[in-house]
């Protein structure tokens, strides 16, 4: 029987993977991919809780939809910034963007 804890394990591991990607990658787009993984992990949690804990008004689905929407918006703006930075600084590696450094 697949219960809530199974889904929570998957989402926790996915979240940890996403966090690892955000912390260790140099390329800005790769960091963004890690953020998407984390958001997906949170969504899996929301939807799993809707089924196993509280389905009134399918709140978890609504939350997941809002998160998907906001993830799309954030990806769009983030990628626009990456493109703009690439045009001016010729690099997308975040440790080479150090114009304001001491």
């Amino acid at each position: 029987m697949i219960g809530l804890s199974h889904y929570l394990v998957v989402s926790t591991l996915l979240f940890a993977l996403g966090l690892y990607g955000v912390l260790t990658r140099r390329n800005a787009v790769a960091i963004l991919m890690g953020i998407e993984l984390m958001l997906n992990a949170a969504n899996v949690n929301f939807v799993a809780f809707t089924k196993f804990v509280d389905p009134t008004f399918v709140r978890g689905h609504v939350a997941a939809l809002v998160v998907i929407t906001l993830a799309a918006c954030e990806a769009v703006v983030g990628l626009a910034l990456v493109i703009n930075a690439y045009r001016h600084l010729e690099t997308v590696n975040v440790d080479q963007v150090d114009l304001m450094k001491g």
């Binding site: 804890s5 979240f15 940890a16 993977l17 912390l23 790769a30 963004l32 089924k51 929407t69």
Partner: protein
């Protein structure tokens, strides 16, 4: 092992293996394409959780739009050609420690919570239930999300525009 368990384990494997490929691949295009099985696996998990509407939206938006966007930006910046560039920074051991610790902590905490039985049955027609929720109790979240989309749309166009 019944069908649901088989499907769950297959999908969970797809999600986690895909996730490892996303954060580990030295080739950025491979990492972006590995997002596809990961996100499709998550969509499959939503199917198992009786969330059909969220599944369709996940495939439509995450796999069909966000992944395409990420691939576009990789191809338009130097990511696709910088294959010999070091992709990992010097924080790897610390990150492994932090992420591993976080995972262990969360699993420990979440495993001990007595969640109890569900508060009610899932509604039969999922899109209808989601629609009603968005228009009655959660209409504020719906409207604010629309405004955020509008703002980010205009903002992204302005930011990414080539200056004349």
């Amino acid at each position: 092992m019944n069908a649901e368990a088989l499907a769950f384990y297959a999908l969970a494997a797809m999600v986690l293996v895909g996730g490892v490929l996303v954060v580990q691949s030295r080739n950025l295009v491979h990492a972006a394409v590995s997002l596809v099985p990961t996100l499709l696996g998550v969509a499959g998990l939503y199917v198992l959780l009786h969330a059909e509407f969220v599944t369709a939206i996940q495939i439509l938006i995450y796999v069909g739009a966000i992944t395409v966007l990420i691939l576009f930006v990789i191809l338009l910046t130097e990511g696709a050609t910088g294959l010999r560039v070091r992709q990992r920074n010097e924080q790897v051991p610390l990150a492994l420690l932090v992420c591993g610790g976080l995972a262990v902590l969360l699993l420990g905490v979440l495993g001990r919570v007595p969640w109890g039985p569900p508060a009610g049955p899932m509604p039969p027609y999922n899109p209808g239930a989601v629609g009603r929720s968005l228009l009655m109790p959660y209409v504020l979240a719906f409207e604010v999300a629309s405004l955020v989309i509008l703002a980010s749309l205009v903002g992204a166009i302005v930011i990414a525009r080539r200056e004349k």
